[in-house]
């Protein structure tokens, strides 16, 4: 599974491995016993008797595990079965929801009773989860995200194939790659899976309110920003869709038109940039309410889930505004500067003189800039050749702009290093200042490049 190196993407990319035998901290039963001892609610002797009763269950289960053919097992096997027992006892004690009654069970040593109750709950949860999983498969999104598809088709399927409530109640035998927006990792076993499937289904219900084609556009736009194949990115679809709907309603767009036009983006950016922190807080509140209203969301659980996103949204938005990287957050239909996956030139592959002269001749004859750019893309593979082309009097006026707009950020940075080589001798520069101070050069392409950058508001190299 591919993980983006881009911090923006990594923030949203959580790889979750739910493996067998993983420890999740102290079981509820042990915490309860310790609390009971500290508070004097149960005596040491009562706890010892309670523990002996657990061992009695262990003895019974080991015999069942070996089908009566063996009276001994490896310690690892026994420990695993013991964890399974404790998991069910936890479920039984937690379901009581009354500390006094729970302490009474410990005092009475009624372990078998609470174990049976807990095991029944685990089994019921497993059956419920199977139904939820079947429904999830039917109602899934079809947007081509690998982690999403693999988690539903394989990760969760493995769990339902392998899980056993009696001997493996605590197990989480699956590899879940797809990250939820909010995932409760404090629980384990079948209760974790039920929660995961419920939450994913809820996220799907929201995403289903938007046409899948729109979701794909959002994913592709996100992939373009991070120069990655979107199908490989570990990202939560719900978060992308929710934030896109949020920006759409703020821009008074149709809430299910998720990818924004350049003009709408400029208006939105101006609006957001003018806000104080308090105003930003208010507009996020208001915006999320508008999202729920526009999408007709009445379901309390989903409304709460969306509201829970407020803090994360505020942090991300404030950070994007502070670092002038709103374009990495608000997804746009056509991005003239960002998201060029294909680079034009790479070092070290210079053209022969003959081929270079032929190319110059063809470029001079060609009138259409898109055709010129295509020629350059297909023929030029080194920075030196590219600069020679720029200096070759075969491009005119706005044609330079078009060509620069086809370059990736690293390529633009390389050209900037050439143009601002004098300014950069003493280290990094504030490009916005250098652009405004730069006296016109003797080369047309450099003048055009500076104008291009001024229009693009690049700030730092």
């Amino acid at each position: 599974m591919e993980i983006s190196k881009n911090p923006e993407t990594n923030r949203m990319s959580k790889k979750i491995h739910k493996n067998t035998k993983e420890s999740k901290g102290e079981p509820f039963t042990l915490a309860l016993i310790k609390a009971g001892l500290r508070a004097g609610r149960v005596s040491k002797e009562e706890v010892e008797y309670f523990q002996l009763q657990i061992m009695d269950i262990l003895k019974d289960l080991i015999l069942r595990y070996t089908k009566g053919e063996s009276t001994s097992v490896k310690v690892d096997t026994a420990a695993d079965i013991l964890n399974s027992i404790i998991y069910s006892i936890d479920a039984g004690l937690q379901s009581i929801n009354d500390p006094d009654a729970a302490f009474q069970i410990i005092k009475n040593g009624a372990v078998w009773q609470v174990y049976d109750k807990g095991l029944a709950l685990v089994k019921a949860c497993f059956e419920e989860s199977k139904t939820l999983y079947r429904n999830l498969r039917k109602s899934r999104l079809r947007v081509g995200l690998e982690a999403y598809d693999l988690t539903i088709d394989e990760g969760l399927a493995i769990f339902f194939d392998k899980y056993g409530p009696v001997f493996e109640a605590h197990h989480t035998m699956a590899s879940i790659d797809y990250p939820l927006l909010f995932d409760d990792m404090s629980i384990q076993g079948v209760f974790y899976f039920k929660r995961y499937i419920e939450t994913l289904s809820m996220e799907n219900r929201f995403c289903k309110m938007v046409p899948e084609e729109e979701i794909k556009k959002v994913l592709m736009a996100h992939g373009r920003i991070h120069q990655m194949d979107y199908t490989k990115i570990l990202i939560n679809i719900f978060e992308l869709v929710l934030s896109a709907v949020f920006f759409a309603v703020l821009s008074e767009e149709n809430p299910v038109t998720l990818v924004m036009s350049d003009m709408k983006y400029r208006v939105l950016a101006t609006k957001l940039n003018s806000l104080s922190s308090v105003q930003l807080d208010m507009i996020i509140d208001e915006g999320l309410n508008m999202v729920m209203h526009a999408m007709g969301i009445n379901e309390k659980e989903l409304s709460d889930y969306i509201r829970k996103y407020k803090d994360t949204l505020k942090t991300r938005l404030a950070s994007a505004l502070a670092t002038d990287s709103l374009k990495n957050f608000v997804l746009m239909e056509d991005e003239p500067l960002f998201g060029k996956i294909k680079t034009i030139f790479t070092d070290g592959e210079r053209m022969s003189d003959v081929n270079f002269q032929k190319l110059i001749g063809r470029l001079i004859k060609e009138l259409d800039i898109t055709a010129k750019a295509s020629l350059i893309k297909s023929e030029v593979h080194s920075l030196e050749d590219f600069i020679d082309i720029l200096e070759g009097s075969c491009l005119f006026g706005s044609e330079y702009f078009y060509l620069f707009s086809q370059l990736s950020d690293p390529e633009l940075a390389l050209l900037a290093e050439v143009v601002f080589s004098d300014e950069m001798r003493n280290g990094p520069i504030d490009l916005s200042k250098s652009i405004s101070c730069k006296i016109l050069t003797s080369m047309e392409w450099q003048d055009q490049f500076i104008k291009f950058l001024a229009g693009a508001r690049y700030c730092q190299v």
Binding site: I62, E69, T71, V73, A78, A79
Partner: protein
Amino acid sequence: MLLPTDFNSMNNIGQTRLINEILEMNKESREFNLVLTPRDAASILEARNEFLQQLARIEMSIDVSKSLIRNFCNSSFITPEDYVATLIELHEIFYHIKNETDDKIGDNELIRVMKDYFENSCGGSLELLKSMLASYSEEFRKTTVVHTLLKEDQNGDFKKSGNKPNE
């Protein structure tokens, strides 16, 4: 909180009861002039607990000890002088082979194999028994692997992984 390993030592709580259970077996072995004293029984139990600990196993009862006594007391190769030492060594061999066969062989079946080899192939030699059982457990593991693969094949697992044998 008790751990599974506490199980073996928990048995020590009822040490007297366990010793008496072992001594009960004298009723069957006396016929072959093999009798354990309470001290012998305690030694056997102590050795058993050590083996279980060393081999990272836990045991729910002393049924294996009783079964070893029951099955081996009629052996013509065991004398009153080496009875206790032989029983202790048989315990070690038993738990060792249980681990080696990954618990895939039942207690009764393993004791039957041990007795068969001891009587018919090893001439009462414990060293030879160990060596033969090492070969036996290796063969057992191989057979188990083949059996598992065949079972997977029947369940369609080959098909699933694209390794159809007949393709």
